[in-house]
């Protein structure tokens, strides 16, 4: 190896270092600008427009109007974000919708439950809060909702939203053939007193495509009013 070659490779290394330093520097500036923008600048929609020329000159002297506040005795309606089963295990809850085929589109992850977006929310006085989850899967085994198979009347289930929790007491546990789930469909009704309806699968299993024969339906009634979280 001649000195020329060594010089060239040294130079090349220097160029690489300079490029790297420059890249890191530019990147840092970009990241800083990005975070500064997201922290300090309101989104364009929230930015106050420049005062219209027609605005009266007396404006600055006016006292601000009051702002209506939610009554502290109630919580703002909010969808469940987690559910704690009688055995104490909590599961995150996603928002799920019914597909065109009428099937509730549950999270495929057995460790996550789904809240039906046509149902009621924590803090509302009427209707069913419907939360469902897979009981098992071929790849992940048995899921937390298998707990419902041994749930009994009187057991406690708690659901939590972004700012409040509500406790429920189990009033019924029953199996219903999956094929007739929607018959006499009061479990999905927006009417009637507020209740929690948990649904999973159970019963004999048809490995040739039919799957579980039954749905396991746990219904529970609220115990008192929802409480602010950590309150």
């Amino acid at each position: 190896m001649g000195p020329n070659h060594r010089d060239r490779s040294r130079r090349r290394r220097a160029v690489v270092v300079v490029l790297l330093v420059t890249a890191v520097g530019v990147g840092t500036v970009l990241v800083r600008q990005g975070s500064a923008a997201s922290r300090d600048d309101p989104p364009p929609s929230a930015r106050a427009p420049t005062p219209a020329p027609s605005a009266p000159s007396t404006a600055p002297s006016a006292a601000p109007a009051g702002v209506g506040q939610p009554a502290p005795s109630t919580v703002a309606p909010q969808r469940p974000e987690s559910v704690r089963l009688p055995d104490g295990i909590s599961m995150p809850v996603d928002v799920v919708a019914t597909g065109d085929d009428g099937v509730l589109d549950l999270p495929s992850d057995i460790d996550r439950a789904g809240w039906w977006d046509g149902g009621s929310r924590i803090g509302e006085p009427y209707g069913a809060i419907v939360v469902a989850a897979h009981v098992d899967s071929v790849t992940a085994g048995v899921g937390p909702f298998a707990e419902l198979l041994s749930t009994r009347r009187g057991d406690t289930i708690r659901v939590a939203g972004s700012g409040a929790t509500q406790q429920f007491e189990v009033t019924s546990v029953r199996l219903k053939p999956r094929a007739s789930l929607s018959e006499g469909a009061s479990i999905f009704s927006v009417r009637g007193p507020l209740r929690l309806v948990l649904i999973t699968c159970a019963g004999p299993f048809d490995a040739d495509g039919g799957g579980y024969r039954d749905n396991l339906i746990v219904q529970a009634s609220p115990v008192g009013q929802p409480r602010p979280r950590d309150g």
């Binding site: 404006a59 009051g66 703002a76 085929d101 749905n215």
Partner: protein, 286 residues
């Protein structure tokens, strides 16, 4: 000054008054344009027995606005604005922030006697409401202490003070509603039949003063939209048969063998056995 007592209104006479006050206003869906954000501003005249002139940003909107009138919506750019209410007895000028797509600016008496009314801004939640439901908001803007809202005599919203509101999505229906002092039973207002429309926001403002016989309600309906999906006809919530009768679910790879074995036992015996087990367990725990 608080207006002189009017004739006492009976509950029966309130209903037509309430229905007459329903101001149905259709509201275009919020535009996606973020370039020029605007706010739909409704002005609610919640002071009984008064005619007021309403001026926004120095421009007169209307000169003689009767009690229970809902004006608007007035399209205002987002940001701070000024509103002036003038009657023969007082002039109230307030600044307010138009910061959401739909707001109500309400002129009303405060809870305690005062020489002039006050102004409170409420945000209208016009986000989609689930099918078959309507969104109901009840705001306390009357000269009364904190109150409960009852449906069919049962308290649905408790302890609302002047300047506060409650909100919930409820099945679209007509509800017999009254407002009572918190914990009390003699109505300050109502009972009246309140219609809650599907896919809309129904706002009720309790206004006036019981001693003056001027308790009343302003009802405003703002269109929103229906959201949420249909009720499912099928919930497919398992795919492995691991909790089916006869399966050894304690095999490696299962996550919660203990609970699952409990589940297996229950399912083995079927639906009838579940009920029996339930009874046995309750006996044994007593």
């Amino acid at each position: 000054m608080i207006p002189a007592p009017a004739t006492t209104r009976s509950a029966a006479r309130l209903l037509p008054a309430l229905l007459a006050a329903v101001a149905v206003t259709s509201l275009a869906l919020p535009t996606a344009s973020a370039a020029a954000p605007t706010s739909e501003v409704y002005v609610v005249q919640g002071v009984p027995n008064a005619e007021v002139a309403v001026t926004v940003d120095g421009k007169e909107v209307e000169s003689a606005v009767a009690s229970k009138t809902v004006l608007g919506p007035v399209d205002l750019p987002s940001g701070e604005h000024t509103i002036t209410f003038s009657s023969a007895d007082w002039t109230v000028t307030k600044s307010f922030e138009a910061s959401s797509p739909s707001i109500d600016v309400v002129l009303h008496w405060p809870a305690d006697p005062s020489n002039e009314p006050e102004t409170t801004v409420f945000t209208n939640d016009i986000s989609p409401v689930a099918q078959g439901k309507g969104r109901l908001t009840v705001a306390h803007t009357a000269v009364v202490p904190p109150a409960d809202v009852r449906v069919d005599g049962e308290v649905v919203f408790a302890n609302i003070a002047n300047g506060e509101f409650v909100t919930a999505d409820v099945p679209a229906d007509t509800y017999p509603v009254d407002i009572v002092p918190t914990g009390g039973s003699s109505p300050l207002l109502g009972p009246v039949d309140l219609a809650v429309k599907a896919g809309a926001l129904t706002r009720v403002f309790a206004i006036g003063q019981p001693q003056a016989g001027s308790m009343d309600a302003v009802v405003q309906v703002v269109s929103s939209s229906e959201g949420g999906s249909d009720a499912p006809t099928s919930v497919a919530a398992g795919s492995a048969g691991l909790v089916a009768p006869g399966r050894d679910i304690a095999e490696p790879g299962t996550q919660r063998p203990v609970a699952a074995i409990g589940g297996l036992a229950a399912v083995l015996l079927g639906a009838v056995a579940v009920v029996l087990l339930d009874g046995r367990r309750r006996r044994s725990t007593r």
